[in-house]
């Protein structure tokens, strides 16, 4: 059943250890013999078990359900247990790094504290209004099926790792926590929709998202956090919660980027991937503001990821100026 076509692949791993050399990151190469059905996790486990037990990483289910194994593979966040090696290796080489936007404990093991702090900040539990009914709450199946889409979230942190706003703005709640919030807002049994939405209008809430689509692209469970955020924006506007928070916020963000150094530093960090998104981000700001001022909704419809090429061109143009 399982074919055994073996070959050797070079895995480069970004490592660091607080007990060695002041936690300074370095890159280590491993040449590993792999089978063609290997996932990236299979390779990492093979390294740890057969070659170098000092490599530290989290993994549990091997089946994209526990959310332990988010890492960056060739610069993009992925669940390594769900990523076939053959789908990511180029010329028999891959690069594995810890997730982004979180501190690193050691090697590929990241510190999820900021992630869970934000999760906790959205009151992540059902708040039904009245006393519990005698039996179950009556709810339409469509609503429940719709919520399964969000409950699919396994809190892996891939989206948070690659969110472009989080790279420059620490207090953004981020895609995972916001999707979690949506899960309660869209639940017919929860009675605190307005309260939840109001809270999300604040700095760090739904108006911080620049619709860069990174979270949509990297989410291994099709949770689509961006659309959930857009749905909440739309929801808040429908409820006339548009006290120009969005605009105020967009302004704050513009000045953040303009303020000395931040942008440059960011640009340096972002290198290629995030770069386009920053451009896209700036491009969107005036739109958001004018829409707000005109009392209209900002453009909710998502642009396609295919626009990346177009963005590249815009960026080239800017560069050549």
């Amino acid at each position: 059943m399982v074919q055994t076509a073996k070959k050797t692949v070079q895995i480069t791993i970004k490592r660091q250890d607080p007990e060695i050399d002041g936690n300074k990151p370095y890159f280590q190469d491993y040449n590993v013999e792999v089978e063609d059905w290997f996932t990236v996790l299979d390779v990492l486990i093979k390294i740890r078990e057969e070659i170098d037990g000092t490599l530290s990483l989290r993994c549990a289910c091997r089946a994209s359900i526990c959310g332990s194994c988010a890492m960056r593979v060739n610069g993009q966040a992925k669940l390594v247990c769900k990523t076939k090696l053959s789908s990511v290796e180029k010329d028999n080489k891959i690069l594995v790094e810890p997730v982004g936007n979180m501190p690193v404990i050691t090697d590929l093991t990241a510190d999820f504290k900021p992630f869970w702090d934000k999760f906790n900040a959205v009151d992540p539990y059902l708040r039904p209004g009245s006393e519990a009914p005698e039996a179950e709450y009556i709810a339409p199946n469509e609503d429940m099926v719709h919520l399964v889409g969000v409950m699919n979230c396994i809190m892996c942190g891939c989206c948070v790792s690659d969110c472009t706003v989080l790279e420059v703005k620490d207090n953004f709640l981020g895609p995972a926590a916001l999707a979690k919030s949506y899960r309660f807002i869209a639940d017919p049994r929860d009675n605190t929709e307005n309260e939840r939405l109001e809270k999300l209008l604040d700095d760090g809430g739904i108006w911080d998202c620049t619709r860069c689509m990174q979270c949509v692209e990297v989410c291994p469970k099709d949770v689509d956090p961006m659309s959930r955020i857009m749905a909440m924006r739309s929801n808040s506007l429908n409820k006339n919660m548009n006290k120009s928070y969005g605009a105020r916020h967009a302004n704050a963000f513009t000045s953040l980027i303009k303020s000395s150094g931040v942008l440059n530093e960011t640009l340096l960090i972002l290198k290629t991937k995030g770069f386009f998104n920053i451009i896209e981000l700036i491009k969107l700001l005036p739109l958001a503001i004018s829409a707000q001022l005109a009392g209209k909704r900002p453009p909710f419809l998502s642009h396609s990821i295919k626009n990346k090429d177009k963005l590249k061109k815009i960026f080239k143009k800017l560069e050549n100026k």
């Binding site: 526990c66 959310g67 050691t106 009556i138 396994i154």
Partner: protein, 557 residues
């Protein structure tokens, strides 16, 4: 200083449910878990949770009968009665907490049918039931600001004057061992699938709690009862849920026949798991398999149903095998899945050590006996998680003083240090692989005296070699190399008790099918097997099965 009334080891479904109960009772409660609670293996449960909702005319007695028949009459019937009676109330409570169970046309909870039962009484959330429940229970503990020792690894139970008084555990972030004192300890550490290779279980299912309890003097019961799931993915054993067959999927052999017609004409694909797994193995052994597998066929269900109700299965099939379930059948085979055996407890989770409780997969109440029905394990975690907390809460009020122990922590620190400092030994993974392969071979779907003794000899040999293993990682921070090595030690202890149980039970019952003794022997073996450690050696004894209303009958599906 770490001190609690109720300390729960494990934050899967059983642990979280116990914690909520204890917090609600106002007790100083904490959970300790080697992974973040939502990473616990409970999240992998796909299919659903059973409950007979009596207000819709379902009868808990019918659920009890199915469970007892499924157990091949080895379950303790008073415990089954409790589980089936309390199921409805527990299920509704979960719904009220926020679990987004699937609904019927009236907006009430909807059901699907699971194996070994005649009635559809399995409640579910798509194909992510366990995950959806786990996340909601975790949310509730966040709401109640529960204390969690997150990514702490328990290495030892503290036993003083024969009573359990806390644990010693390592904070994986610092590598430091600490003593956590408690008036009562509930073990909710889950299963031990990694003893076998392959297994549907997560890499963290290493039987830690079983070994901790066993080494502290608790009895492990019916350890030979290993469930092989009929639909593990060929290769690495990732599970394709029974939900597929619940929705109507077929099992086919290489001739394209629905072979279950020959083995279980009435229940077909939805006979008990042990029955289906054996039928598959027989087909495969008779040369009617496809590369050592049979085929699970979902095509006739249609794409829409597959995507709405079996979404996760479709994800696994496409991601891991490149197979679209709506277009193609997928190869599956019997794969180690669940341990019916576990730490012997009464119906309130009490072990034979005062102050020590157990619930969930690591416990054996016993409600599953020789074979667990699909969707009964989630129910077990919830019902007995809650009950064990209730019993612990009661017990706590009788405990006056906390542990005064000073030496244990020192001894344990020295033990671990010497392990870390060992050089030039065998790698843990070498031993683990040898164990996994021999256990699957020796204590498999079919077993006999020879295969069992082969596995046992192997485990005895590995236990001798274990003290000479060495690890690469000498560091303190998140040393997963060290954790693996400790887990290996636990698994070897537990594996030995499985071999002893299999060797001693001289009949075939439930998942324990001996080709050298193919009949069930109620006269001599309507009994539980128990293994307990005394003076460093395992001793074996049997205990009675509680029969209330249902006399053992021939089991036919």
């Amino acid at each position: 200083m770490y001190e609690h009334d109720v300390l729960i080891v494990g934050a899967g479904l059983a642990g979280l449910r116990a914690a909520l109960e204890s917090i609600d009772a106002g007790k100083n409660t904490a959970m300790i878990s080697k992974v973040h609670p939502v990473r616990s293996h409970s999240g992998a449960a796909q299919g659903g949770i059973n409950a007979a909702l009596t207000d819709r005319g379902d009868d808990w007695k019918d659920h009890a009968l199915s469970t007892i028949k499924g157990s091949d009459y080895l379950a303790d019937q008073h415990a089954v009665e409790i589980m089936c009676q309390e199921a409805g109330e527990n299920l509704i409570e979960l719904e009220n907490m926020g679990v987004i169970f699937s609904r019927n046309e009236e907006g009430k909870l909807g059901t699907r049918r699971f194996g070994g039962q005649t009635v559809a009484r399995t409640f579910f959330v798509g194909a992510i039931t366990g995950s959806a429940m786990l996340h909601v229970l975790y949310e509730q503990t966040v709401k109640k600001q529960a204390k969690v020792y997150e990514e702490w690894f328990v290495t030892k139970l503290i036993i003083e004057d024969g009573e359990c008084r806390g644990v010693i555990a390592m904070d994986m972030h610092t590598g430091k061992l600490e003593i956590i004192k408690a008036k009562s300890v509930i073990l909710a550490t889950g299963g031990a699938g990694r003893i076998f290779e392959p297994s549907t279980n997560a890499l963290i299912c290493t039987g830690d709690g079983l070994a901790l309890a066993y080494n502290a003097g608790a009895s492990l019961m019916d350890m030979e009862m290993i469930q092989y799931h009929p639909t593990g993915l060929a290769g690495n054993g990732i599970l394709l849920s029974e939900g597929a067959r619940g929705e109507g999927a077929y099992l086919l052999n290489s001739e394209g026949e629905r072979f279950m017609e020959d083995y279980a004409p009435e229940y077909l694909e939805l006979a008990s798991r042990d029955v289906v797994s054996r039928s598959e193995q027989t087909e495969i052994d008779a040369g009617r398999g496809v590369d050592g597998c049979v085929l699970l066929d979902c095509r006739h269900l249609g794409r829409e149903k597959i995507e709405e109700r079996l979404g996760y299965l479709q994800e696994v099939a496409t991601e891991f095998r490149g197979i679209d379930l709506a277009e193609q059948p997928i190869p599956v085979k019997p794969t180690m899945h669940y341990i019916m055996g576990g730490i012997k407890t009464d119906e309130s989770g009490r072990t034979n050590i005062p102050g020590l409780y157990a619930a969930g997969e690591c416990a054996n109440v016993s409600v599953h006996g020789g074979n667990r029905l699909g969707a009964n394990s989630l129910l077990d975690t919830i019902v007995f998680g809650r009950r064990s907390a209730r019993a612990a809460i009661e017990y706590v009020s009788t405990v006056k003083t906390l542990s005064k122990n000073k030496t244990e922590l020192n001894n344990e620190t020295k033990r671990i240090e010497s392990l870390v400092n060992r050089t030039n030994g065998e790698r843990s993974a070498t031993l683990r692989n040898e164990m996994g392969v021999s256990m699957t071979e020796g204590i498999g779907v079919y077993r006999d005296a020879d295969s069992i003794s082969m596995a046992k000899n192997k485990i005895v040999d590995l236990i001798k070699r274990y003290p000479n293993t060495a690890i690469d990682n000498k560091g303190k921070v998140f040393n997963t190399d060290l954790i693996f090595n400790l887990e290996l030690g636990y698994m070897l202890d537990v594996a030995l008790t499985m071999c002893i149980g299999a060797e001693e039970r001289k009949e075939s019952r439930g998942a324990h099918f001996r080709t050298d003794m193919t009949e069930r022997d109620d006269k001599n073996w309507l009994k539980h097997t128990n293994v307990k450690k005394k003076n460093g050696e395992p001793i074996f004894y049997t205990s009675d099965v509680t029969i209330t209303n249902w006399k053992p009958e021939i089991r036919k599906y």
